[in-house]
Amino acid sequence: MGGAAAALDYDAELMLRVKEGDGASFGLLLEKHRSAVIHFLYRMVQNHAVAEELAQEVFLRVYRSRSTYEPTAKFTTWLFRIATHLALNALRDGKNERGQESLDGSVAELPVRQISDAAPTVEQSMVYRARLEEVRRAVSLLPEKQRAAVLMHKYEEMEYSQIAKVLGCSESAVKSLLFRAYETLRARLAHMA
C-alpha cells in the first residue's frame, strides 16, 4: 500500500500544480501516463485512429478540468475513468464502425520476437499472426464492461478496488465481471495451449 500511496501523492501533487498553472507538471503527467491510456483505448476499440483521437480527448479533459480537480482518489483512477467513459461512448456511438483493423495493415510492423532469436520463418510469422488475431477477436467479443475490466486487470495490473472505482461499481461486481470474462476467454482460447 505504501507504493500506491506514494504514487497517489506524486500524481495528485503534479495535478495540483497543473491546477496552479504549472504546464510542466501537465507534461510530466502526460509523459508518465500517455502510453497506458493509448494502449488501453487501442485494446478497447481496436482501431488506431479512434484510439488516438480518444486519448487526445482524455488528456484534453484532464487539462480542462484542472481548475476543479480535487485529489479525492488516485489520479490514475480518475484518468482511467475518463478513458473508459469515452471508450464506452465511442463504442456505443459506433465510432469504430470502420471496424477493427486487420492485423495485415495495422500491426505489420510489430516485432515477432517470441518465436526464437533467429528471424522467424514465413510460416512461424503466419502462425503468430493468426494467434494474435484470435486473441484480439476473443477480447473484442467480450461485453464492453468485461473487456474494460480485463484490460485494466491484465495490462494495467490494477487491484479490484481500483477497477471498481473506475467502473463505478462494487468490488464484488468487478470480481464477477472478471470471473465471467476469463471464463469466456478460457473457453475461446483453450485450443491455444
Partner: protein, 166 residues
C-alpha cells in the same frame, strides 16, 4: 487448504495465482493443493493459457506527434471567450449541481444569438454561424466533463466512507 473451486471465493485465488499476485506462502499452499486436485489444476492450466495469449498482444507505439497535436488543441482552446467566462464559476456550479441549468442558459443564449430575427442582416454570415455552433458544441462538451467529474466525486466520496477491504 480448502479447494478454491468449491469455496465462495470461486476462482479468485486461482486468478490471482496466474496473475502472480499471491504472496509466496499462499502460492505454495495452492501449488500443494493442485498436485492432488485435478479440477484446480485444469482451471489453472486454462487460465495460464489465456494469460500467455494476452501477453502476446502488444499495443502499437505511441504516435510521434501525439503531444504536439494535443498541445495544439490545448492552445486553440485557451482563447475561446466562453471558457474564460465559464471557468471561474465551475467549482460553484459543480458543488451546487447546476450544470444542467447553466447548459440550458448558455444554449438558449446561443440559440437567441444565432436566430435573432433579421435586424440589419436577414441571413447570418456563414463564419459567425460556424463559430457559434462550435461554441455550443464546446459548451456541451464541458458540461459533459462536469457531469463526469460530478459523478466521479460522488462515487469516490461514497467509497471513502467504506474502508478498503482486503
Amino acid at each position: 487448504m480448502r479447494c478454491p473451486i468449491e469455496t465462495e471465493e470461486h476462482a479468485e485465488t486461482l486468478l490471482a495465482y496466474c496473475a502472480n499476485r499471491l504472496d509466496p506462502a499462499q502460492a505454495a499452499a495452492l501449488e500443494r493443493h493442485m498436485r492432488s486436485c485435478a479440477a484446480c489444476r485444469s482451471f489453472q492450466e486454462a487460465q495460464q493459457t489465456v494469460w500467455e495469449a494476452l501477453d502476446t498482444w502488444e499495443a502499437p507505439p505511441v504516435p510521434a506527434d501525439f503531444d504536439r497535436r494535443l498541445y495544439q488543441r490545448i492552445e486553440a482552446e485557451g482563447y475561446t471567450w466562453w471558457q474564460r467566462l465559464f471557468q471561474p464559476f465551475r467549482p460553484v456550479l459543480l458543488r451546487q449541481g447546476l450544470p444542467l441549468a447553466a447548459a440550458a442558459c448558455l444554449l438558449v443564449m446561443a440559440g437567441i444569438i444565432a436566430q435573432r430575427p433579421g435586424e440589419r442582416r436577414p441571413a447570418p454570415a456563414p463564419p459567425a454561424v460556424r463559430v457559434e455552433s462550435v461554441q455550443a458544441e464546446q459548451v456541451e462538451r464541458t458540461l459533459d466533463d462536469l457531469e463526469l467529474l460530478h459523478q466521479f466525486t460522488e462515487a469516490t466520496g461514497v467509497e471513502k466512507h467504506s474502508p478498503d477491504s482486503m
